[in-house]
């Protein structure tokens, strides 16, 4: 996936780190000290739709197959810039009863972006 560096406008990943102390949440979140709220942004012109992320390789093979023959059921599909690889995050925090909860949350951090 591409990292957004302000120079490209095609689908890329924008890093956005939030330190819990800066937002006044470090009193109830014990760990980690911050969160990568990365998000995806940028255009998905048709010629690159479905071309990123190994997980989409089958998808892009089908698209290219049709495109070579001129006919494509995917011509008018508008593809979206979405995370194509996500990572879990473990959190340790106080709940309303002041118990400590450790939770491993799936799909919490966007690691790569690509055109759906």
């Amino acid at each position: 996936g591409l990292e957004c560096d302000g120079k490209i406008n095609i689908c890329c990943r924008k890093q956005f780190y939030v330190n819990f102390r800066d937002i006044g949440w470090s009193d109830w979140i014990i760990a980690p000290i911050g969160y990568y709220g990365n998000y995806c942004e940028g255009e998905c012109p048709s010629h690159i739709a479905g071309t990123s992320g190994s997980s989409l390789s089958f998808h892009s093979a089908v698209i290219n197959h049709y495109r070579i023959r001129g006919y494509s059921p995917f011509n008018n599909i508008k593809s979206c810039c979405v995370p194509t690889k996500l990572r879990a995050m473990s959190m340790l925090y106080y709940d309303d009863e002041h118990n400590i909860v450790k939770k491993d949350i799936q799909n919490m951090i966007a690691e790569e972006c690509g055109c759906s």
């Binding site: 473990s90 118990n99 909860v101 450790k102």
Partner: protein, 242 residues
């Protein structure tokens, strides 16, 4: 858009970099996303956090986390990169510290309801109890039996929840498993558990269990309940039963 979905960043608004409030909008979106993923309606209001010594003791005993040089706690990330499948069941570990009960030998545990979750199934529950040796220890005895009774249950108003023979060569922590029946009260609405801790041989052996002491002296050795819970949506659980 704001609904929890498999695509975390879809819940973040598309922002124009120029607007100065873009950053605060994004921070609000991140906050909302974190609360969504933790199934919390709003951030908990922490009025009396657990003493840090008790917290660090529990984390160290349970190998949940360690304290870094800068004093921050570090936990083991769940090693799962790539597109993880969304589980219909979310497992959590809950550490609940004992509050003082109606009498000195009773401790009380309270578990919070999580917003929007249908069912909490307790997979495992252990009480961690610190037995402290006094200097007048009778060396002839090397083990004592600790018993936990659930107040308000059973024939004479209490049901034996668990008992364990523990070694008392030195002061230390001991885990005592909590029976299925006692776990059941934690999965229901009131989500509380009141236990009476007894140890008939302790006085003679010169050892005592540290309970929810009124003084701060023993704060770091306050008993705690360790739960492994699974929150499942009701329909998933029903399918599972079928």
């Amino acid at each position: 858009e704001g609904l929890v979905s498999d695509c975390p960043s879809c819940s973040l608004p598309r922002l124009q970099e120029t607007a100065p409030s873009a950053e605060s909008q994004l921070v609000e979106a991140v906050k909302e996303h974190i609360l969504n993923m933790l199934h919390l309606k709003e951030r908990p209001n922490i009025t009396h956090p657990v003493p840090r010594a008790a917290l660090l003791n529990a984390l160290k005993n349970l190998h949940v986390g360690k304290v870094r040089d800068d004093g921050n706690v570090e936990i083991e990330e769940e090693a799962s990169s790539g597109q993880a499948l969304r589980e219909p069941e979310q497992t959590s570990e809950i550490i609940s510290f004992a509050e003082a009960g109606p009498t000195q030998d009773v401790v009380h545990f309270q578990i919070a309801m999580e917003g929007g979750r249908d069912l909490t199934l307790v997979d495992q529950a252990n009480i961690w109890l610190y037995l402290k040796l006094s200097n007048k220890t009778n060396r002839s005895r090397s083990k004592v039996t600790v018993r936990l009774y659930q107040a308000g249950q059973g024939q004479d108003g209490q049901a034996l929840v668990s008992e364990k023979q523990v070694d008392i060569k030195r002061s230390g922590w001991h885990t005592i498993p909590v029976s299925r029946s006692a776990q059941a009260t934690l999965g229901t609405q009131e989500r509380s558990l009141e236990l009476r801790v007894t140890c008939e041989q302790c006085p003679e052996a010169g050892v005592r269990p540290v309970l929810a002491e009124p003084t701060d002296k023993e704060e770091s050795h306050r008993p705690f309940l360790m739960l492994l819970v699974r929150e499942v949506q009701e329909h998933t659980h029903r399918i599972r039963k079928r």
